[in-house]
Amino acid sequence: MNNGRSFKAQKVIDRMGQKLTRQMVGSLTACVHCGMCTDSCHYVLANPGDPTYAPAYKADKIRKLFKHHYDWTGKVFPKWVKAGSVYTDEELEELKDTVFGKCTNCRRCTVNCPMGVDLATFNRMARGLLCHVGIMPEGVEYVAKEQWEIGNQMGVLKEDYIETIEWQEEELQEEMGDPDAKIPIDKKDAHIVYSINPREVKHDPRSILDAAKIFYAAKEDYTMPSEGWDMTNFGLFNGDDDLGGAVASRVYDKVDELNGKKLVISECGHGYRSTRCEGPNWGKRDIAFEAESSVITMLRYIKEGKIKVDKSKNPGAYTFHDSCNNARSCGLTEEPRELLSLVVEEFREMYPNRAENFCCTGGGGAMSMSEYKPERLKSAKIKADQLTATGTHTVVTSCHNCVDGLNDLIGHYKIDMEVTQLVHLVANALVM
């Protein structure tokens, strides 16, 4: 115990000082408690009358620590500005329930704050402080460990990964009627190095095949890496910049080793954000090659005439769900819409959309936190209503996490709808 504080609580306080940036300090200082962010949060909307879900309320759980220990107004007049500290491990557990269980770091409150307070960024920091002392949901701990140790978040072994690709290569040869069709692995000097989500290997190998069909049709010079192929990154969810940097570096190092010209990241919101945007920040390194989402790659193929598509192959009406990480943190909002409108008969917009879209409720690693599932599914009512209002039976998304989050809520709210990704629709619309 230190000043009546547990060892872990003291570590959290000390480490906070090392993790704070000026941007975060601005966000921690500038809140005026105006409450304008309140209705932007899906947790609030699904739990009317409960202020503990309000973004500013949740932010104050972290802000009070900052004020008490790092801001002199809080040091001099703690009660006056609601500054406070943590003393016990139980209090840290309560903080864990707020930063992991009541927020998906979707940043919807951020874009709705008149002062420009970025709650999601310091909420992630708080997650990192807790993880540093071993306080985190069990699922998060497990997945982070897999990513540190095995190199991908689902613990897929190298031989299983290779075997899956070889299996998909056989499927490709059969479907294309071309025994020479390949899914190259570790090919040097390829134009594209294609990285994927381990979920594709474990649960959705069809997406690997569909991507291969598109690359085949476009006659693309590409390769898949045998290592460093996982573009997902639990560092984004558990707030551990070291994990984030290590995972992203694995991908970058492999592209460098293969002398690839461009890294293409398959459809995954947090993977795209982590690998394309945050990885260089976490890893404190610049990348020498281009990196882009496969959505942009597929759209370019169509625009450049490298592939031809027939939208009548995807009849009916489709709506699009924006992944929070793609839309609110990477600006990937227009390309998926343009691509979708090229490959389906009818595209119906969902409202609100783009950077104002609601989270699928599976974001921020929530799908791995089974202890918060009831709260998550309750908050999913907002998304369920959004989906139903479109009147469509298929929702398209560019995120594996969102596929699982949406499927979960569709089942829970018994909505007559299925979820698919652009890669499937583009592959299905191909004219060979």
Partner: protein, 229 residues
């Protein structure tokens, strides 16, 4: 005019202003010592924006209520915000006009404008106090500073409204209270939430640069590919 009122209008205000400026200087110095996070990622988005555009958009957000869902969907809150802050400007301006340019207040239009904004701000202040106490969401996040700052401003607006005609023929009480409140206000502000305007340019610029680099700001409402056609 009594010597104490003269002191309150001049020397006291100058002392309070110097105190506030010193406190703000120290506050900014403290803020700037925190390391600025470097953004290494190559730009994302449709290529029609950049950090500068994002920052401009973010800073202009204050006069573009339609940009944010939170202000777009609650126009009355935005109008309250605008009137309340214009009331602050009017009350501050009055504290300089009375001692240094009292001639301006011979114009009934000038007095009307100041009274309109300080009066409206005072009414909105009362509405906000009620909201802060009765709305469970706002009450849950309110600190003693939030309550006190709001009450202080509301009372200050009321005295600014009454002091605007700059007439002490009926007694110096109102004028004296207004200037004493102004002096207290100037010295209290750096330690309270009222100093949020000090951080506003920083937080909005940082967020704007971040979102501009990532193609998020300016926010898109209509498909870019349709706009290009």
């Amino acid at each position: 005019m009594s010597s104490f009122l003269h002191f309150s209008e001049h020397t006291l205000q100058e002392i309070a202003l110097v105190f506030m400026a010193t406190a703000y200087f120290l506050r900014i110095k403290w803020f700037l010592k925190w390391p600025l996070a470097k953004e290494r990622q190559p730009a994302t988005g449709t290529g029609d924006t950049n950090p500068k555009k994002g920052a401009r958009y973010s800073l202009a957000n204050i006069i573009r209520p339609w940009d944010m869902e939170s202000t777009r969907s609650k126009p009355s809150m935005y109008i309250q915000f605008a009137l309340f802050h214009l009331g602050v400007v009017a009350a501050i301006a009055l504290s300089f006009i009375i001692p240094y340019g009292p001639g301006l207040l011979k114009s009934s239009s000038a007095v009307f404008i100041i009274r309109f904004f300080t009066g409206a701000a005072c009414i909105i202040g009362v509405m906000r106090i009620i909201r802060r106490v009765t709305d469970p969401y706002i009450r849950a996040i309110s600190s003693p500073d939030d309550h006190f700052s709001l009450v202080l401003l509301t009372v200050w607006f009321a005295f600014a409204f009454m002091a605007a005609p700059n007439n002490i023929s009926g007694g110096e009480g109102i004028m004296m209270t207004y200037f004493l409140l102004t002096a207290f206000f100037l010295m209290y502000v750096p330690f309270s939430k009222i100093s949020h305007y000090l951080y506003y340019p920083f937080t909005r610029t940082y967020l704007g640069r971040h979102f501009g680099r990532r193609g998020v700001y300016p926010m898109k409402r209509k498909p870019a590919y349709q706009m290009n056609k």
